[in-house]
């Protein structure tokens, strides 16, 4: 299976956008999209954790699970290793990089067990990506996540100022907006 890095990157950003096409990480998508500033913090935290988790999960899978034929344990082992690693990194950041911790520290514990993070780790294994390819996939997915989240937060900021019918205010109109964005992204899937 020979896939170029560019194809992986483009696929993970647009065609199989983690939020709008695969519907992973919706909780973060709806929860932290009320303003752009928080959306930026969340996306950077997601990018950080995603790359970290795909590295650790690839290493764990290929050096611990495959030699013992324990591939069926991947989900639980991935959750275990990702959560502990992020916890460790968070402690480390709190001690030595306080500014970095303050800018994205709140979001780190929130997303360690997010399905988008685990999803990328599992997709890497499913599609049989090499180490470099899985990092590229993680970067692309993180960019896709950031694009979707930031665009959505910009729209929601505008929505706050628009005259929305009372029954549609806040979450209902946000969900409708999200579905419209999803339809737009689905256009990529149809292109052959």
């Amino acid at each position: 299976m020979e896939t170029t890095s560019f194809a992986i990157l483009f696929t993970s950003i647009f065609v199989a956008n983690v939020i709008l096409a695969q519907f992973l990480g919706i909780c973060a998508f709806l929860g932290v999209s009320k303003n752009t500033k928080n959306a930026l913090g969340m996306s950077s935290a997601v990018a950080f954790v995603m790359i970290l988790s795909s590295v650790i999960s690839w290493v764990v899978y290929h050096f611990f699970l495959v030699p013992y034929n324990l591939e069926y344990l991947k989900t639980i082992v991935f959750i275990l290793s990702i959560a502990s690693l992020v916890q460790l990194v968070e402690m480390f950041m709190k001690k030595y990089f306080l500014a970095l911790h303050q800018s994205m520290g709140v979001f780190l514990p929130l997303i360690t067990t997010n399905c988008a993070i685990l999803g990328v780790a599992l997709i890497n294994i499913q599609k049989d990506f090499s180490f470099v390819q899985s990092i590229v996939n993680a970067v692309g997915t993180a960019i896709g996540f950031a694009i979707a989240l930031i665009l959505f937060s910009c729209i929601r900021e505008r929505l706050e100022d628009s005259d929305v019918p009372k029954s549609m205010k806040n979450l209902p109109i946000a969900l409708i907006t999200a579905s419209c964005m999803s339809i737009a992204i689905m256009g990529f899937t149809g292109m052959k």
Binding site: K34, N35, T36, K37, N38, F64, L65, Y68, N69, L70, L73, I76, V77, L80, S81, S84, Q87, L88, M91, F92, K94, K95, E157, E160, D161, S162, D163
Partner: protein, 299 residues
Amino acid sequence: MFESVALVAGMGAIFGTILAYAGKKLTVVADPRVNQILGLLPGANCGACGYPGCNGLAEAIAAGKDGISPCIACTSQNKKEIAIIMGYKEEAPLSPDLRKVARLACNGCNNNAPKLYSYTGIKDCHLVAKFFGGPEKCNFGCLGFGSCVRICPFHAISMGEHNLPVFDYDKCTGCGLCARQCPQMAIYISSAARAIHLKCNNRDKGRAAMLDCVVSCISCGICAKTCPTQAITLREDINGSKPVINHNKCIECGACVEKCPRHCLHKDAPIAAPKQFEVPTPKENSCANCSLECSSRKH
């Protein structure tokens, strides 16, 4: 079977040990006083102290960077308790001169200000101000759409019957959020002890100002000439002209109030000395207790 149990258990044990060791090694000693102080601050996150919210101030106080004074809204009782936590000596009580409150420099109510058009859109001063400076003919005065009411974390502002904001000085802490919010800059913060106030924000002169409103200041200068202590001067600058009251010279005789042909100088009733302020209870859907930075501040 055995392998899988051993692997998961082993990984759990290894990660657990690493985390426990790291938790000991990398622990950051948090100052327990921060949370105590935070509990005593008003929790309105108004930002008047210059720190990012009450948490920022609590950290600064606990670090000994600042005294207790920066918080305007904190009750004297709570300040005393913070002083005890920090081991400071008690601060002297605030004098009434030091109490700051918000005031509105406009009297262009429904009856006084002629309208250019009627506005039926979203009730937000910033949006309204974009349409020809608001529906009133005067481009300086209060727009009456209550952005100040919505931003006040202490619920001290309400819209009066004449469509002008009314300040409840039992609740106002002088934090200045409303003054910063007002797109017309018609709200200002001044000492509670001051009595004579110009209730107009109009910077035009003569006929231009006269057409704007029934009670507009036309910068005629009669107040400046009348004042026995020369406390009022007519200031002309790039923003236009407007009488300025020097409250150090003002003896509050009220001569200017009587002579003002446009009835825009007023003598306010005295405002009480600093009161015990209650900790605000959030309205439904209120931003008051939410620490997130929020662009619209609609609620």
